[in-house]
Each structure stands twice: as C-alpha cells, then as structure tokens.
C-alpha cells in the first residue's frame, strides 16, 4: 500500500468539499485535508473494528488497511454488518471487502490476510518485553500514520505499543466485554490549538503546566475587546500501555479519598481482562472464574494506588466474568464512535484528544475518562 497520495495537493477538490460538506462544517477544511492525507492501519475486524472501519471510511481518510486473518463464523454475524450468513467460512476480510469499499470509493482501501508480526519473543509473564524490535517487523508498520487495534490481549498490545513508539506512530486500542468496553489512546506527544472564549479566565489561557500530562506552550491573542480571540497550544504527553498498568496518576485527578473510593470497579476489572484472550471463554457458558478475576482486579487496584476503602462490587465482577469477550453491537457502536471521533480530533488538532483510558459501562450509561 506504501505509496502516498498521488496528488500531494494540500487542498480538497470541489467534489470532495461537497461530499464532506456536513463534516467540514463541523471540523473545518484543514482537518478534512489532514484526514485525506492520513494512512490508517486497523488490526482485527471485531465488532468494534467494524464500527471503526465504517466511521473512518465515511470520514474520508486517505487510505485504510485492514488486517485480519480469521475466518468468518456464525457468532460474528451479530456484530458485523459488512457480511451475511452465506459468507460463513470465508476469510473475514474477503467477505467484508466489497461492502466496506462501497461506503466510500475515494478511500484507498486494502486488506492484509495474514497477522502482522509483533516482534520479540512471546513470553508467558505479563511484564513488558524489552527486547529490541526486529527491523523487519518495523517495516510492516512504518508506512502508516496511525494504528488502531481491537481485541488484543495485554502481551500483544504491549508489543504493538513498543513498535508504534519506536516508529512514533499514534496508537488506539479498544475491546468490548458484553455491556462494557475500553478505549486506550497513545498519541505519544500531541499538540492541539484550542480556541478559548475571549472572557475566559481558564488556566488554559496562560502558558504553563496544567497537570503532569499536559501543558500550555503558547498563547496567541488577536483582536481586542469583544473581538479578542485566544488560541492556546496545548501539549499532551502520553503513557504506553505498560505504564498504564503501573500508573500512579489517579490520585492526581481524583484528589480526595472520597472521589477515589467512587472510581468504578469496571476500571481494574477491565484491565484484568487483558490477561485473557477470547479463546479463554470460547465454548464456556459460565465465562471466566469470577474469583480469579476479582483477585486479579484487586491486585491492579493496588497497583493503581486505589485507597484501602475502595471496595470491588461483586455484581460487576460477576457480570464481567460472564460477559468477557462477548461482542454486543450497540456497545461497539459507542466505543467505536468515540474512538473515531478522537482520531478525528487528534488529526484535526483543534480539540483536545482523550488522554488516555476510557471505560464504558452501558448498564449505568457511565463513560469516565481516566488519565493513567
């Protein structure tokens, strides 16, 4: 897929402006132009992957490469509107190809039918693989501007994250467990120019450090009085997935013990589920062992420095153990929509992207953003 856009003009054609009219009105021509030039790799056509691919095709990115080596099964049909029952048994990407391309012929769409190498030796421990990454592995990723992975386990995500860090490519990762889902964002270092109200007294209108992950590096003021416009440059720095698991940042954003105590049990539970793979629950009606899941979550809660008074909710443990790795289309639509909206925000550089971990709980319609 490697080659860049054949026309490297920075402007969109009149046809494109007409086609993308509604969204250009929302995020501006510049962001649409950046999107037209971006090359995005999507790993795995899970139910969330389906939503992500749909949103990116409709948004009008430059090229989309979809990598999935799995065969379409009957269980996949519920969460994948690109395929139908007659295609069960085919490779997922083959089955879905035409309907994906039909969404938008302007996007250069291609598929990879074999899993991409993640480099390093597969280790059985959960500690990060610190081995040097094979240059051959890097070659598979170097021609993309952004990588989106769905349904990876901790080790796979950790390895992928090392690759994207090595190549300085932004990474999004997401996965769903029944009525719950997560979104992880690693933009490494990201700058956005945000417009502030002229009468804003916010700390964002002054140069300085906002918190341990973001700072205002520049403030531009134009015009006077009522016409005053303030544009601040906000720099966000991100952590890798390995750092997320050992994060001590919760207490920085939830300053009192009372607030910390209220942090949803879904956060450590969903992080615990990174230790498993979809194959661990395949064919088991009971799902995972809730006792094991709970103890894993309690370890993670400790790693994240949640206070002693924080208690895990047994009901939520039971639900997540039962629902682990189940795909549910409405949940995928929400988390996939949030993921793509953030990709657009990150590319557009006018809104502040998520930093860095979102938990979705559709039982309570709760969707907190944690900085880990």
């Amino acid at each position: 897929m490697a080659e860049t856009n054949n026309k490297d003009t920075s402007t969109l054609t009149a046809d494109e402006i007409k086609l993308y009219d509604r969204q250009i009105r929302l995020w501006g021509l510049e962001a649409q132009t950046r999107m037209r030039h971006s090359r995005i790799l999507v790993l795995n056509l899970t139910s969330i992957g389906v939503e992500v691919v749909k949103n990116l095709m409709l948004a009008g990115i430059g090229s989309l490469t979809l990598c999935d080596s799995s065969i379409l099964t009957e269980e996949d049909l519920n969460g994948n509107f690109f395929v139908d029952a007659s295609q069960v048994g085919q490779l997922k990407v083959d089955a879905a190809f035409d309907r994906i391309q039909d969404l938008n012929n302007r996007v250069k769409f291609s598929v990879l039918k074999e899993s991409l190498p993640l480099g390093g030796k597969l280790s059985t421990s959960n500690t990060a693989v610190q081995a040097n990454i094979d240059p051959e592995t890097l070659k598979h990723y170097q021609n993309y501007d952004l990588v989106i992975a769905t349904g990876l386990n901790r080790q796979q995500l950790s390895q992928l994250n090392q690759i994207t860090r090595n190549l300085q490519i932004p990474l999004y990762a997401s996965g769903g467990h029944g009525l719950y889902a997560y979104l992880f964002v690693d933009l490494i270092n990201h700058e956005s120019k945000i417009q502030l109200d002229s009468n804003s007294n916010s700390t964002k209108s002054k140069v300085g450090i906002l918190n341990s992950v973001s700072e205002i590096t520049n403030v531009e003021k134009t015009g006077k009085d009522e016409e005053l416009k303030i544009v601040s440059t906000l720099k966000n720095s991100y952590r890798t997935i390995d750092e997320v698991f050992k994060s001590n940042k919760l207490s920085e954003f939830y300053k009192s013990e009372k607030k910390l105590r209220k942090i949803t049990p879904v956060l450590p539970l969903i992080l615990s589920l990174f230790d498993y793979s979809a194959s661990d629950v395949a064919g088991k009606d009971q799902g995972l062992d809730p006792v094991v899941l709970k103890s894993k979550a309690e370890v993670i809660a400790k790693d994240l420095k949640l206070p002693e008074s924080w208690k895990i909710d047994e009901n939520v443990v039971g639900e997540l153990a039962r629902q682990a790795f189940c795909e549910f289309q409405p949940v995928s639509a929400i988390i996939g929509g949030a993921l793509c909206q953030d990709v657009i925000n990150a590319l557009g550089q006018r809104e502040i992207p998520i930093n860095n971990f979102v938990v979705l709980d559709t039982v309570k319609n709760d969707m907190p953003i944690f900085t880990l």
Binding site: A14, I17, D21, R22, Q23, R25, L26, L29, E51, K54, N55, L58, A59, L179, F253, F328, Q329, P330, V331, S332, A333, I334, G336, G337, A338, C340, Q341, I344, I352, I354, V358, L360, T362, V363, K364, N365, D366, M367, P368, I369
Partner: protein, 486 residues
C-alpha cells in the same frame, strides 16, 4: 412533539434521541412517569426585532435574514398582494417611530414595482447583466432605500451610519461568476457581479415558473441570497461572509457526523434493554448527553419525574375506541359514555383540538348529530368537567380492532384513566393558549423545514409582535437522524 404526544396517548415508552454535530442526547421517556420530551425546555429560538432586520442590521445574520425572508420572497415569491399587506401591518404594529414606518412602507411599495419590473423582464429573456432593470433594482435596494433610512436621523444617533452603495458598471465587467470561490468571502465587485448574474438567472426562470422559493441546494437562489446579504453588509459596514458560511446560516444546516450518530444510536439501543426490566425499568434507565467535562466522555443522569408545568404531560390522555363507522355514534351517546365511565358529577364540555365547542350544558344543538360530522379517527377531543371537580382530559379517537368480540362493535370503549382534581382555571387557560401556539409552530416546522419562521403577528402577544425567529429545531434533526438522511 407529535411523537411525544402519541406516546402519551398510548402510554408506550419512547426512546428519544438526536444529534447536532458532536453533541447528542438519548432520553428514555416513560409517559406520565418520567419527564417527557416537552418537559425539558428546548433551546430558545433566536429572534430579531423587525427593525433590526429592515432598518438597522449590525451582524451578518441580520443581512442574511433580510435577504432570505424579506427581499427574496418580495421579488420572487407568490401572491404579492397578501404578502404586501402582511408587511404593512407588521411594521405599523411594531414600531413607534413614525418616520421609520413611513419609510418602510414606501420601500415596500417600491419593491412591488421592482417585482413588476422583474416579471416584465422575465417575458423577454435576457442574458446581459447590464440590463436596465438590474441597475434599477441595485439602485433602489442598496442606494435609495439606504438614503431614505439615513434621513431618519433618530436611527443613527447611537449607531454607525450606513453608506449607500456606489458602483460603476465597469467595476465588475471583467470578472467571471465561474471563478468565484465558495470558501472565501467575495469582495464588493464579485458580490455585484453575482447579484446581477443570479438576478438574471432567477428572472429568466420566472418565465416558466410562477414563483421561486429559497432552497439552499438551488444554486440560483443561494447565489442571490449570498450576494444580496453581502452587499447589504457592505453598505452597513458589516463583515462579509463566504458562500459556504452563508449556506449554513440561510439553509439552517445542522452539521452531522457518523461518529456522534453511532455513539447516540448505540446508547439508544443499549438503553432500551432497561425498558424490559419491569419495576426496575425507570430506576435503571439513564438519560445520556454530551459532556464538556474532561473526566467523562458522556454525562448520564437518572430520569426525573414529569415537570409539573409541562404543557404536554400535565394533561391526562388516552385512546377512545369507537365503532368503525362513526356515523353510528351520536355525540349524545359519546357524552353519556364519558359521564358513566369517569363519574363526572354533573355535565361536561366537549371540544375539538382546534378549540371548537361541540357540546356544553347550554349548547345542545349537536347532541343528536353523529360524531362523524365533527371528527374522524386520529382526531383528539378535549373533555372538561363543567363542575370543575375533575381535570381536563384529552382522548385520541380510534376505531375498534377487527378481532373484537361479536356484539361489541357498536360499543364505545373508553380508556382507564385516573383523572386528577381540577386545577385552577387561570393556569389551565394559559397552558391551553401556549399549547395552541406550540401546535401551530409545529405545523409550521413541518412545512418549513429550514426552520426559519416569520410568525404571524396576530398570534403573538405584543412584545413579540412580528419577530423573525430562527428555530433550532431539535425535532427535525432527530427525524433526519433516525431516517438516516444524514
């Protein structure tokens, strides 16, 4: 609003949701148990006094509204006489400045002249932007009318004066319409050229079309609005906007994106699970809306009880099932059924939703007439207690189902309702009045999808007399979102 009302009549839960750009909301509605769609205040429409639009614009939107809602229909709209009369009336009611009223009336009269000029020109096709009538129109709208306004000195004591448009034909003769950018604002010359060019195009169309309405996707009309609004902005020293921007304002375009729609559709689907949780349905349901808070991607709240003052759900509603042949039911039978069913102490008043009285104790003329003479299925009747013991109710009329047991076809089946005690008349009257206006506005929304309404002055109280409203019509969006037009 309509779907909400039907949900109230039927008692069926409603999952309301919609998006505007990056914002969106999902609201589960359990009729009479939780807040309904009408309980929550909707964004108040922006409205401008007529004098701001006609005499003293200060923002681009004022000039765009003038071009679209005033100038364009005056020149290309239908039945000029009516419109003319309406304009006259609106102005004289509104303004206490006599000079201004006179000036505006004169202006309107002259516009009628311009319309005749255009119609005359339409009969003899022309392609020259140099046509005499084009210059007459330019001179009249952007020069003479402005000079007339300038003579009313009281208007300009606290405002910057406008400058009548000066131009020569040569200024724009070597420009081409096809080379104008949609994204960048045009300069004065380009606007002059586009004004003339689109005026000729529209005029030529009038030879085969009786009238033309503004449509954001009709390039001729859009070009005219853009150029006319910008030339007016130029005269009043207001910022010039690009065609792209004016299309959004004049066409009331609501930006929509796949991501927000997917997110809200997802919440809507997943929230509907709670509707099947029986006793716990309401306790477990959450309303979802967008968040501006960095710690949350969306906000969610538990459902509130219905608002006490809600115009829609403070009235008890139900469905009355009637014989499929409404000719078989007299008003007297219907009244009797109501008295028996709900135990009114003495008598009732029956009126239609458009406030036509069908029956009360001293108006018995209609009693022996069949219901079919007044209403049909799908209509709503308002029932009031003459003794003021029970509160008003509204009944939606429907035919019996086909599978009804034999012998029941001629019966009137009324819904089980618990009717609250009568509330103070003054309050109810006021609500009725507001409700009526709202219904009216609803109808206009449907006719007028672009959401800009010139309200009839008769229906408004004095303060709001003759305002031009821009409605941020949530309902319209939602419909579109649901039917997938975006």
């Amino acid at each position: 609003m309509y779907v909400n009302k039907i949900a109230l009549f039927t008692g069926v839960p409603l999952m309301e949701s919609g998006t505007t750009g990056l914002k969106g909301q999902v609201q589960p509605i359990f009729p009479y148990k939780t807040e309904c769609f009408a309980c929550l205040p909707k964004a108040t429409p922006k409205s401008f006094p007529v004098c701001t639009i006609r005499s003293t614009p200060s923002k681009p939107i004022h000039c765009i509204t003038w071009a679209k809602n005033f100038l364009f229909p005056q020149l290309f709209g239908e039945n000029d006489e009516e419109q003319h009369a309406a304009n006259q009336q609106g102005v004289s009611d509104d303004s206490d400045n006599k000079d201004e009223v006179e000036a505006l009336q004169k202006e309107a009269n002259e516009l009628l002249e311009l319309k005749r000029l255009i119609q005359a020109a339409a009969s003899k096709e022309t392609n020259s932007t140099d046509a005499e009538f084009v210059h007459k129109i330019l001179a009249k709208i952007f020069k003479e009318d402005i000079e007339r306004l300038l003579r009313i000195e009281t208007l300009w004591t606290t405002r910057a004066k406008p400058t009548p448009l000066q131009y020569t034909k040569d200024e724009y003769s070597n420009l081409k319409v096809s080379e104008l950018s949609d994204q960048k604002p045009w300069d004065k010359q380009a606007n002059l050229l586009q004004f003339s060019d689109s005026l000729i195009r529209l005029t030529n169309r009038l030879s085969s079309e009786p009238s033309i309405e503004f449509d954001k996707d009709d390039e001729d009309t859009l070009d005219f609005i853009v150029a006319a609004a910008n030339l007016r902005s130029y005269v009043f020293g207001i910022e010039i906007k690009s065609k792209f921007d004016i299309k959004q304002i004049a066409g009331n375009i609501i930006p929509a994106v796949a991501t927000t729609n997917a997110i809200m559709a997802g919440f809507s689907a997943v929230s509907s699970i709670h509707m099947f949780e029986g006793d716990q349905a309401i306790a477990n349901s959450r309303m979802v809306y967008d968040s501006a808070n960095g710690l949350k991607f969306v906000n969610s709240t538990k459902l509130d009880s219905p608002a006490h003052s809600c115009k829609a759900c403070s009235i008890v509603r139900g469905i009355a099932k009637l014989p499929t042949n409404l000719k078989q039911v007299t008003l007297a039978q219907f009244r009797q059924a109501l008295l028996e069913k709900y135990g009114y102490s003495d008598d009732i008043e029956i009126s239609t939703s458009d406030s036509r009285l069908l029956y009360d104790y001293d108006f018995e003329d209609n009693l022996e007439k069949p219901l079919s003479q007044f209403v049909g299925f799908g209509d709503v009747l308002l029932i009031s207690d003459s003794d003021e013991v029970l509160d008003h109710i509204e009944l939606y009329l429907d035919g019996h189902d086909n599978d009804l047991a034999k012998g029941d076809e001629a019966k009137i089946s009324l819904p089980e309702l618990s009717i609250p005690a009568f509330r103070k008349k003054a309050v109810v009257e006021e609500e009725k009045e507001e409700g009526k206006q709202e219904d009216n506005a609803d109808e206009q929304h449907r006719d007028n999808e672009d959401g800009v309404i010139v309200l009839d002055d008769e229906e408004e109280d004095e303060e709001e007399d003759d305002a031009i409203e821009i409605i941020d019509d949530d309902e319209v969006d939602i419909d579109k979102t649901k039917s997938g037009k975006y």
